[in-house]
Symmetry: C2
Subunit: 277 residues, 2 copies
Amino acid sequence: MNEQELTHEVTARMATTPDDRIRFLMEALVRHLHSFACEVRLTEAEWLQGIRFLTETGQMCDATRQEFILLSDTLGLSSLVDIINHGNQNPEVTATTVLGPFYVPDSPRRAFGASMVEYEDGGRPAIVGGTVRSASGVPIPGAEIDVWQNAATGFYAVQVPDEQPATNLRGIYSTDHRGRYEIRTVRPVPYPIPADGPVGRSLAVTGRHPWRAAHIHAIVSAPGHVTLTTHIFDSASDYLDGDAVFGVSSALVRDFVPDPTGTLVCEHDFVLDVAGG
Amino acid sequence: MNEQELTHEVTARMATTPDDRIRFLMEALVRHLHSFACEVRLTEAEWLQGIRFLTETGQMCDATRQEFILLSDTLGLSSLVDIINHGNQNPEVTATTVLGPFYVPDSPRRAFGASMVEYEDGGRPAIVGGTVRSASGVPIPGAEIDVWQNAATGFYAVQVPDEQPATNLRGIYSTDHRGRYEIRTVRPVPYPIPADGPVGRSLAVTGRHPWRAAHIHAIVSAPGHVTLTTHIFDSASDYLDGDAVFGVSSALVRDFVPDPTGTLVCEHDFVLDVAGG
């Protein structure tokens, strides 16, 4: 049996899959996987190294570390899936980005203008605010903004449970009757994605750095609208051009401007698509 | 940024890889991975299901269970790598096959004609013998044959350490001065690959069975020759046409013929390629 015959036999074996979509996915997966191995003439040693890499990647995962999402991020797959699923959206709608590995659900609800800083680490005070609008143009009162970001140390609370309170620098805010939101926080900082595992080694082997540009994450939702997963990037950050996970969209880069008291102010509106629209 | 632009940016990021071969592998991996996601229009839910599947596959692995090799086997990748690396060999040389997940190194050395049965489970007695020859035609005295197979229960010793002695049904034999080897054993039986993990679930979802055709594994080596990893398949076995890991080569199928005492006799020669030839 030659290479083409084997690939044909394997895809043919998938024909028994009852679900049409899964059958299509499996046949395509086999075709592309085999095509990769044939193109590069994969050696047995390389195959075994790949098996070991994937095994270690799985074994690095636990309740607070998702090494396979990191791998997907650093291979640009996460951003690609984002483009595939949202690339054709209304251009007036705010750009989507990857969720990333540090989202924790059930953040505390916080009042308009309240601080989500629960741990002082010398981060520079900042106020992030703006309006949540519908693609139809009108502001949306009562929209929810679930935000999370890192501390001045570079770490998200979930990464350092012994150091930061679990709910530090995350919270769920709501827009007021004008559709405005306001968050008191600190300026986010660039940080390296966790580089002490197999994904970090793969970056080193390919001569890449692990740094992400400074950003705040947000998931914005409102009745009748498509939920938006997005970032706000700091225009003064390093790595906007070389983000390790290919997550930067120029449309999401904003200035953090000092007010007379020295507090940084960042104004950013979120525009949500109308559901089913 | 559209899909093509993102793929280009990710492959361009690999350009910093110092090692030429790794750079080529990484660029090709990204191209094929992105091409798969684009072709199937991978949804976010499917992506997340894939992340979870790979995570579980890694976490299923331990010292005696290699779920990623099983995955590679059931996707035909292991056999494809075998064909890529050995498909162009001298056609007189014995066909190679995958190693499989149950190989254990350092089996006991056993004398010519000795039994490797250390645990009685009602398996039918068999003698497997033949000659190890060089592709140049001459028999090879002192060649080593490292063999392993399953018991009549379907299990390899490594799978059931509480049931079978660790060295049951495996051993290292040597050829005599005529290049002959002879192994006393029991007839191998078809068996399901371990189906209690994510790979087993993937077979179920695709309507596939987990069974392999009955076989004996062998790694045959001799000075001055290319080491051969191969199987001997029982011609009376089920699943020769539908082996779950795409491992059957018709050139490796042999009859197990009863002698006057009822013991099955299987005659099989191994032909090794000359090293550097």
